[in-house]
Symmetry: C2
Subunit: 94 residues, 2 copies
C-alpha cells in the first residue's frame, strides 16, 4: 500500500481568544517588530500513513482531525497537501 | 503601507525526538488509525503586519523566525505564503 505524507494546519478560529498569539505579538513588538498587528498560533501536523490512494489518505486525515487533531469548537483545520512518499520511505527504511 | 498576512510553518527537524508527535501517533493508533506510521507536531503561525512590499514582509518574517518563532537548534521554519490583505483589513477595521 502506498505511503503518504499529509500536511495539516490547525489554527484558532477567528474571533476566538488566542493568548499564545497575543504573547508572541507582544514579544515581537519588544524585539523590534512594531509593525506586527496580529499573531495567531496554531499547530502544523505532519502525518505519515499508508492508504490505497491519495483520496483515501485525505479522507482518513480529515477523520483524524475531527476525532483528535483539531478542537471542533475553537479550531479550524485544513489539509494542506497529500504527497506520496512510498519510494522515499522504502529507500529510507531499507 | 500595505498590510500582509504571512503564514509560517515551524516543524521539528528530522531526527529530533518529538514526544508530542509520538503521543499523537499513539493516540491515533488507539482511536482506530493503525495505518499511521509517524507524526510530527510543529506550529503554524499567522502574522499580520505592515510592510512596504511583499518582499519586505517576507524578509522581516524570516527575521522574526530567526529571533523568536523558531528554535534554530531543533526546528526548521518555512514561510509558506505572503498575502496582501490591505483592502480586507481596511474594510474589516473601519
Amino acid at each position: 500500500m502506498p505511503a503518504y505524507r499529509i500536511e495539516i494546519r490547525v489554527v484558532p478560529r477567528r474571533g476566538i481568544l488566542d493568548p499564545q498569539g497575543k504573547a508572541v505579538a507582544d514579544a515581537l513588538h519588544s524585539l523590534g517588530f512594531p509593525e506586527v498587528t496580529d499573531v495567531r498560533v496554531g499547530r502544523h501536523v505532519v502525518v505519515e500513513t499508508r492508504a490505497a490512494s491519495a483520496d483515501e489518505a485525505q479522507r482518513r486525515a480529515a477523520e483524524m482531525c475531527e476525532r483528535l487533531l483539531a478542537n471542533p469548537v475553537t479550531e479550524d483545520f485544513e489539509i494542506e497537501q497529500v504527497v506520496e512518499i512510498a519510494a522515499v520511505s522504502a529507500a529510507a527504511h531499507g
